[in-house]
């Protein structure tokens, strides 16, 4: 049966070929159990490197204007890209 693996990359700017600054992996096959703090080295140098390795991009964050008066406020990471792989899995 087919299961989904998800890779989330946070990049240094809105370009897909900019460097990875943060990342997460979720494995629907159950073969691995990624978790917070499990790796200090990014899986790819850039988002484009993930594409070249077979990951399919299915969502990218929007580039939004800065509300007046809140131009300096920072919260969550801005440049979020969701990728998937569909993997054959043994039940």
């Amino acid at each position: 049966m087919t299961r989904q693996k998800v890779l989330v990359l946070y990049l240094a700017n809105s370009a897909l070929d900019s460097p990875v600054i943060a990342w997460a992996v979720y494995d629907g096959t159950g073969a691995t159990r990624p978790m917070a703090g499990d790796n200090d080295d990014p899986p790819y140098r850039t988002g484009a490197d993930a594409l070249r390795d077979g990951w399919r991009l299915f969502q990218a964050s929007q580039i939004l204007p800065h509300p007046r008066g809140e131009e300096f406020d920072l919260a969550y990471l801005k440049y979020e890209f969701f990728f998937e792989q569909l993997v054959e899995s043994v039940a």
Partner: protein, 311 residues
């Protein structure tokens, strides 16, 4: 009678403002570490069918750590002679607290964080995983900050996990574990340390407990405290230069000396290319607040943005 507090100097304060933490390795004497661990006691051995949370609950119940009402003076929270009272009276600890939240802070809460090794999960079930990254304790738009002191009474190896934290994240206004999706962030650190190590954290700093793959429980004691008075000019002001140190920016040919400005303008590996500049702006704003100097600037960021000629 306790010794005089050793206040932080201006470079240490700048590091706290820029990175949201100060780390002091092995500064708590072994005698206090041993006393604290004796006051906490040992967790019961793993037992088939007994859940980890039950073992944890029993440990919390037996530990000689007082229940303390939120809002009392920190000075009244721990009995004289207890390990934590002795720790708080160390000149370095007293001085760091005084520098960051004043000499008479308010006790907010404390907690005994214990992570259990795999044997407890094998016996009692449940999944042995790390804690999601979060900040404490809710979205916080205030100018100042609360201080969290994390105390590591025994040696922590990488295999035991350690507290994970991300330097420089403290000025982002996020809501607790809303950022749990970020599993790993470039520049994250893990508290692998000797016994008696202390970590002083800005309450906004992103952090989480690491998974314990070791042989023994890992113990960390955290105390949160609030300032009672504005956090203005509380550190060793004799170390603050009379004037900021203007320096060349962007086109720089030679190494720059370490100054308050160089520390405030040092990026973190996870900085986004555009918002990294806003991090610098927010560090300057926090330095203005703490130094009581509303006109302070570093590397011309605020002078450019606040130029009255183009208002």
């Amino acid at each position: 009678m306790s010794e005089q507090p050793v206040l932080l100097d201006s470079l240490q304060m700048a590091r706290f403002v820029a990175r949201g933490f100060l780390r002091f390795d092995g500064v708590v004497p072994d005698e206090i570490n041993r006393q604290f661990l004796a006051e906490v006691g040992e967790a019961a051995e793993p037992e088939p069918g007994r859940k980890v949370m039950r073992a944890f609950g029993e440990l919390l119940g037996q530990a000689e750590i007082p229940e303390v009402a939120a809002g009392v003076p920190l000075a009244a929270a721990y009995r004289q002679g207890s390990a934590i009272r002795r720790l708080l009276d160390l000149p370095l600890v007293k001085g760091a607290i005084q520098s960051l939240v004043g000499a008479d802070p308010v006790f907010d809460h404390h907690f005994l964080h214990v992570t259990f090794p795999p044997a407890y999960y094998e016996a009692g079930g449940g999944e042995n995983v790390s804690q999601h990254t979060h900040q404490d304790s809710t979205v916080d738009p205030s100018k100042g900050f609360d201080l969290q002191v994390m105390y590591y009474p025994h040696k922590v190896t990488r295999e035991m996990g350690g507290t994970r934290f991300v330097p420089g994240t403290h000025l982002r206004k996020v809501s607790e574990v809303a950022l749990g999706r970020y599993q790993n962030i470039r520049g994250q650190q893990h508290m692998v340390c000797e016994a008696g190590t202390l970590l002083f954290l800005h309450n906004g700093l992103w952090h989480g407990g690491g998974v314990n793959h070791g042989e023994r429980t890992r113990t960390m004691f955290k105390i949160r405290m609030n300032p009672r008075e504005p956090q203005v000019r509380r550190w060793d002001m004799t170390t603050l230069p009379a004037e900021p140190n203007p320096r060349p920016i962007f086109y720089v040919k030679s190494p720059q000396p370490e100054t308050v400005e160089s520390i405030l303008m040092t990026p973190e590996p996870w900085f986004e290319q555009d918002t990294g500049r806003l991090e610098f702006v927010n560090r300057i704003k926090l330095w203005r607040h703490l130094s009581g100097d509303p006109g302070y600037d570093a590397d011309h960021w605020m002078s450019r943005l606040e130029n009255p000629a183009r208002a």
